[in-house]
Amino acid sequence: MTAPLFFALLFWLAAWGVNVKLANAPGRDSLGVRIVVPLLFGAALIVLWEGLVRHFEVLPVILPAPSVVWETFLASTEILWVDFQQTVLKGALRGYAIGCAVAVLCAIAIDRSAFLTRGLLPVGNFVAALPIIGIAPILVSWFGFDWQSKAAVVVVMVFFPVLVNTVQGLREADAMQRDLMRTYAASYRQTLWKLRLPAAMPFVFNGLKIATTLALIGAIVAEYFGSPTRGMGFRISISVGSLSIDLVWAEIAVAALAGTVFYGLVAFIEKRVTFWHPTNRK
């Protein structure tokens, strides 16, 4: 066994040991442990990766070592930032915002008609299960090369999960709570604002969380079918072509980071908004 691999395995074992200790110690539910344990786990994975790459002398054009990726990352922050703006800020976020807003509004509109709800829910459920990603080439040809087509792909991808979840959520207020509103002779709008929307929030956020990961993947894949000369999908694709696999990994790291932050943000807002839900009560 070579030194790098030996060290990597050792680090792995040590990290695992520490994690086992931490996870079963009295303070195991503290925020600190919740952050440190996964970080240590991730660090161990990266060290193991580095060790394996060094030990087997894997060609950097196939799988670069994390250290190399890190150097590339530092050296290419400008490119990464440009790509991040194009793909995440313009394509994914705008598409996400539009798609989610339209889906929630549609859900509210549909919800007034029991007939529409009964018709659209199965259809929506079905469409949500479809490989929508396949329409990326069509939407790129419809909406052009810039972020608009990426946003369009994202809109279509996030629309149905959010719609279905919201419609589901709007039905969530239980019969007794609705009856209560009836005994007050409350109007439709009052019932919607004061009861059904708040009660739907856990479901809406469930949809919104699913949508975050879809948004990023959609925006990146759509760039494969045409893009300006910037964007994460663009960069990943051309970097594979020129064997700059280290840059590919740097982009992947940015995507994962952006995706995690995005997801975390939505989850954070969810905790704020649905503080009252049993899963969030302290």
Binding site: V33, P38, I62, V123, L130, I133, G134, L216, V248, A256
Partner: protein
């Protein structure tokens, strides 16, 4: 019937909107074509028309609007065109006895289905194993769960070429394997999440009951946690199979367009035959529908057998 009617109405509405959208979507290329073959088009010249909105073009060339519905390479095909193309590459070929010819969508659906199946199998096994690990080990719970979420934010397409190369380094030449791996990658997450909630679904009192019997952990798993998780399992399997299908198609798009629906979509794009893309998309939709319906049936049968179907009501 009471259930089907609203769905049919919604589907009819969707078809109607689609059909109406064909005219504005295709009017430009329709007018370009008409002009080339000598028809009088207002305004003249493709470049000049670029400046005019599609609605104005339709209003000023009412006679030529029907041409939008008869384009060979439409931006948006009519439902009829898609249906015809779909039938030509499936049913018609099957009637000819060429169902499994390479030109038949059935053949490609079969290829995609196989990868989906293996990916689903692999992803589900990983998801279930992961869930068991997470439920039974605090350490795994704390370390794995955040990374499972992060793993889903990685653009899997970016990994596709590397998966191919790594697979071939490990001596796997078959290109179906990378597809199945990508498919499994997307499939495992919903199964993991669903099974974690499923395995954790037994109430504290149910667990305590087993403790009063001083049951072993494995008895607790087989007699309580596993059966209790079955409804969750099926719910996540349905999401998982859909994800596996998406994964396979994403895997087929860029990684060596050889066979499968994703490859058809890619080739349809490359050779400018939109009808082929649409037909492949419909095939993918049908495949998804069939797979989910199949699991839904399996769910109903299993839950009824287990007496859980009515209990849930």
């Amino acid at each position: 019937m009471r259930k089907a009617l609203p769905v049919l109405v919604v589907l009819a509405a969707i078809l109607g909107i689609w059909w109406l959208a064909v005219a504005p979507m295709n009017i430009r290329i329709a007018l370009d074509g008409a002009e080339r073959s000598g028809a009088a088009v207002v305004p003249e010249g493709a470049r000049e028309r670029q400046e005019v909105s599609v609605w104005a073009l339709m209003a000023r060339n009412p006679d030529l609007v029907p041409l939008s519905y008869a384009q060979e390479r439409p931006r948006l095909p009519t439902p009829g065109q898609v249906a015809t193309e779909f039938w030509d590459t499936t049913g018609a070929m099957a009637l000819d006895g060429r169902a499994m010819s390479r030109r038949s969508l059935l053949f490609h659906a079969w290829i995609t289905l196989q990868s989906t199946f293996w990916g689903f199998l692999l992803g589900t096994s990983l998801g279930i194993a992961g869930a068991i690990g997470i439920v039974y080990s605090r350490t795994l719970n704390l370390s794995l769960m955040p990374w499972a979420i992060i793993s889903q934010t990685i653009p899997i397409v970016a990994l596709a070429p590397m998966i191919i190369v790594l697979a071939s380094q490990l001596g796997i030449e078959e290109r179906g394997v990378p597809k199945a791996i990508i498919s499994a990658y997307l499939c495992f997450f919903p199964v993991l999440v669903g099974m974690v909630s499923g395995l954790r679904s037994p109430a504290a009192a149910q667990l305590d009951l087993l403790r009063t019997y001083s049951a072993t952990p494995s008895q607790g798993f087989w007699k309580l946690r596993l059966p209790a998780s079955v409804p969750y399992l099926f719910a996540s399997l349905k999401v998982g199979i859909a994800a596996a299908l998406v994964g396979t198609i994403v895997g087929e798009l860029p990684t060596g367009a050889i066979r499968g629906l994703g490859a058809r979509i890619l080739i349809g794009d490359q050779f400018g035959t939109p009808l082929a893309i649409w037909a492949a998309l419909f095939m993918a939709a049908i495949l998804a529908g069939v797979l989910v319906t199949f699991l839904d049936l399996a769910q109903r049968v299993t839950l009824r057998r287990m007496g859980l179907a009515e209990a849930a009501r």
